[in-house]
């Protein structure tokens, strides 16, 4: 059920990248997962991908474009208007959650990512829901 979608994961911390890619590829058997290490030329690189993602997992603290800026760029393109875009962040304070909602994210996933609950969260995203449950 996860494989009907294509995913893009943008994260600058190498260990976090490795951890989540193992969960998604090895445990959840997702085949079409693309990973960016930085947000340089974000939109061009995105459009150049062989398959277009419908689910985006974006780390907020990215360079040169932050998660918010990437979100703005995506929402401007009609191709990604329906995409589920989720923020990944290690620091989730209430003000930030409000900000994320206001900017138009479909959810937030807190780091450290919980291996057992991540599949459920991803499933809800795949089903078109928003995910705002933060923390434990």
């Amino acid at each position: 059920m996860f494989n009907t979608h294509t995913y893009l994961y943008v994260e600058d911390d190498p260990l976090s990248r490795e951890a989540l890619s193992i969960i998604m590829r090895r445990v959840l058997k997702i085949e079409r997962l693309y990973i960016f290490e930085d947000s340089e030329n974000f939109l061009d690189r995105l459009k150049a991908l062989p398959d277009q993602p419908s689910i985006f997992l974006l780390d907020i603290h990215m360079q040169p474009y932050t998660g918010f800026e990437m979100l703005a760029m995506l929402r401007k393109e009609p191709a990604y208007a329906e995409a589920r875009i989720v923020a990944l962040t290690a620091s989730v304070m209430n003000e930030e959650v409000t900000m994320l909602r206001e900017h138009g994210f479909n959810g937030v996933i807190a780091k450290p990512i919980n291996v057992s609950s991540f599949p459920k969260v991803l499933q809800r995203l795949v089903d078109g829901e928003s995910v705002w449950h933060v923390g434990d």
């Binding site: 989540l20 090895r26 290690a90 620091s91 450290p112 923390g135």
Partner: protein, 478 residues
Amino acid sequence: MQAQTNITALESLRQLIDRLVVPPSAITDAQERRRASLVAGMLLAMLVVGLLFLALAAARFPDSIFDADFIVLWVGWGITIGIYGLARRGYTDAAAAAMIVVLVIMLPTSAAIRGGQSTLVNLLIFPILLSAIFFSTRHVLLVLAVSLAYPLVLSQLDTQLRLETQIYQLSQIIVLGTAIVIVYAQHMRALEEIRRYELQNAYEVVRASEAALERRVLERTFELELAKNEAVAARHAAEEADRTKSQFLASMSHELRTPLNSILTFSELMAMGTFGDVNEEQHDYLHKMLYSGRHLLALINDVLDITKIQSGMMKLFIEEDFNVVQEMETIAASTQKMLKDKPVELVVDIDRDIPMLRCDKRRVRQVLLNLLSNAIKFTEEGTITFSAKNRTGEIFFAVIDTGPGIEMEHQELIFEPFVQTETGIHHSGGTGLGLPISKKLVEAHQGKLWLESAAGQGSAFYFTLPLQADLSAVEVAV
């Protein structure tokens, strides 16, 4: 009765006189008005006295009332009425001058026509008086000169006027009178000058104090402006400090949690067998790593929370739909593992009719979980009651255990951050922050959290959350 009518008669006489001398309203200056009513008054007096004099003379010399000298007087009297009219219209100086001229000419002329000794000439004191009151010393001397010269001239002409002895008397009277009048006039003028001077001084003083006051006001305004600017700057500095603190907390949060991400995730993946089978020993140690990692995460979360609370940066995220029944059942279910090996029964007792609670859902879950896991940690056997009751205006939560209880001396301490009792350290391996944080979170919701316990008698933690708390949607600083 008699006295009263006399008084009213006097009153009406006074009112009559007032009406007869009141200056025209076109004259606004107070001093001018005084002069105008004075000249009108004097003219009025002269008219009355003149009339009396003429009436007496007519009574004494009834045959001579149509003689030339009388006619001069009558004409003079008539002219005086005209001059009175002038005065009433406001031509104060003109009226005074006209009167002086009339008197100076009329009196000696009438005396000359009549002949013999005449007392009329003595009345020349009046034009001198008038000129002293209304005009300056120069004019007084002029009038004096004419008053002396004209009768003299008349006596030399072919008239009946005999002034030889009278001239001597006349000149005495006139000169003496004039001297007195001049001195008095000078005195009055001097007084007036003094008053004017004093008035000017007073005016100056007022102006000066006005200016001083204005200066003070300006100074004070400037000071206030400075103070205001300082206050604004201080506020900006405080806001800047808060922003810095906030950013620090956010980045600390991020920095501390990122490494844990890989520790926890890899350990769990490995324990799940993702990288190959693991034997029992490896599984065991991996789970110990996971346990420590999760514990570390809890510690970091607690420390960040208490830092936020203590620096006044704790903000609640209020939502309207906390389903107490569901949430408490979920929390109870999640602690099943902790209870597996202990002869402890968890009794969940939640009123079915509890409405949706308006609160920060995550934080309320945090408090419930904190109290319940404490109870489980500290209770070796017996019962734990996890309950919520619907009361008017609030929900009443309770977590009651049959554990060792808490001594009176420690009951205050456990709500202090960074303080752990010996029993606490022995059992929990926690931070000692859970209860202080829970208490602050409950209080931020305008509820109360408290403990009832005694050594050896178990512990009961109670807290209330009001249903209609005045919490703004996002920000409640603690």
